[in-house]
């Protein structure tokens, strides 16, 4: 079986399109400027893996990393 997935938003690339928050609200939060960061340490709860990849695929700035531990 695969290990845990983690998501990470590169704050230098994020421009606040907020697609990740819209597609995977369980995994991302927005700050007061509307810019995104991963919730907690970015661990993706079981069952939400598809949402992690969907968020990455829909970020126009390619700011989201999905890594497997």
């Amino acid at each position: 079986m695969s290990g845990k997935l983690k998501v990470h938003v590169d704050p230098d690339k994020c421009q606040g399109h907020a697609r990740c928050k819209s597609l995977a609200p369980e995994l991302f939060d927005l700050d007061d400027y509307g810019n995104a960061h991963e919730k907690g340490d970015g661990t993706v709860p079981a069952g939400l893996e598809d949402k992690a990849y969907l968020a990455r695929a829909n970020c126009p700035e390619i700011a989201i990393d999905v890594t497997e531990e």
Partner: protein, 402 residues
Amino acid sequence: MSDTSILPAHPPVTDWVHDFDHTDPRWTENPYPIWDALRTVSPVVHTARFQGCYLPTTYEAVRQIAYDTEHFSSRRIIVRDERPEVQQSGAPPITSDPPAHKPAKQLLLPPFTPDAMKKLEPRVRAICNELIDGFIADGACDAADRYAKYVPVRAIAHMLGIPEADADLFIQWIHQILELSIKDERQLRMAAEEMGAYFAGHIEARKRRPTDDLITTLMNARDKSGAPLDDSHVMGSLRLLLIAGIDTTWSAIGASLWHLAKTPADRERLVAEPGLMPTAVEELLRAYSPVTMAREVMKETKVEGCPVKPGNMVLLSFPAANRDPAVFPDADKVVLDRKQNPHAAFGLGIHRCIGSNLARLEMTVALEEWLKRIPEFRLDPASSIKWSQGTVRGPRQLRVLF
């Protein structure tokens, strides 16, 4: 109205490979096949019109230019026949380059977050229903003129704290600034003067009695040293919010209703599956992106291998980027449930549209409320669609029957 004999001539394009004109009637009517053909020729094409202008045709070329603020300045963001003097203040932050860009933008971001939009949603639903009330008994209407136009105008007026009833005045200024002024620079000055006088009045009123709207937010803003923004910055930003908030979303809502009017399968699907709306909105934004921006080339460079020289403008076409088959399979088709859609309708890089969450709210609510009350509608065969010209594309006449 204006003396056309003194305006630059626009002879028709005969060779689209070495020339293009975004005011050409064929581009206005249907630009997509033109872009598709140009994309097979080169990632960047050029015309001598407009005193020299490039058009990037691929998503990657557009991204590269948008990310490169060193070679491509935002001090001019509309491609015109003439190059009017660059205004000292411009319209921050859209006309700002780094380092001035970031603080100017940060000031305006908090009122436009998705959470801020949730508070606005009830007012937008009410606006949509008030508008529909006005024509639903008629069995026909011009959806661009009676609906799509007024949703964003009234919403941004509400946010700014200016009377929603002044909507037609704002629309006239937008028309002058974005369309008429491409060929007649005087239109730009006339509209700018009137807007200036209008906002000066509102600023004065708020000095006496502050409110909790966007105008007061700008007046209360302080820079790093604690100084207020100077008047021309406040005015420039107000001008931007009004202009940016109107033509753009009007166009997106209008184009979406046009698509649904002529595509019964998609319309029926959205009525049957309301949960599909967020995904559908993103696809409609991709396929019918309203906004093209521009940049001025400041230093020589290469984009996707193509030499680009200073003194030229660049027509920064996010709509063309969004039709690039290298990024979007079936790019020329509206795929309502498209899953991978990193579209650039709101731009790429630091100038990402501040109003993107507002636009999405307006578009989503406008389509939801329309479909709730008018689930079946079609294009009026006795009428024709008229598209806006130039930098923002959307229907300005869209007669539908229901």
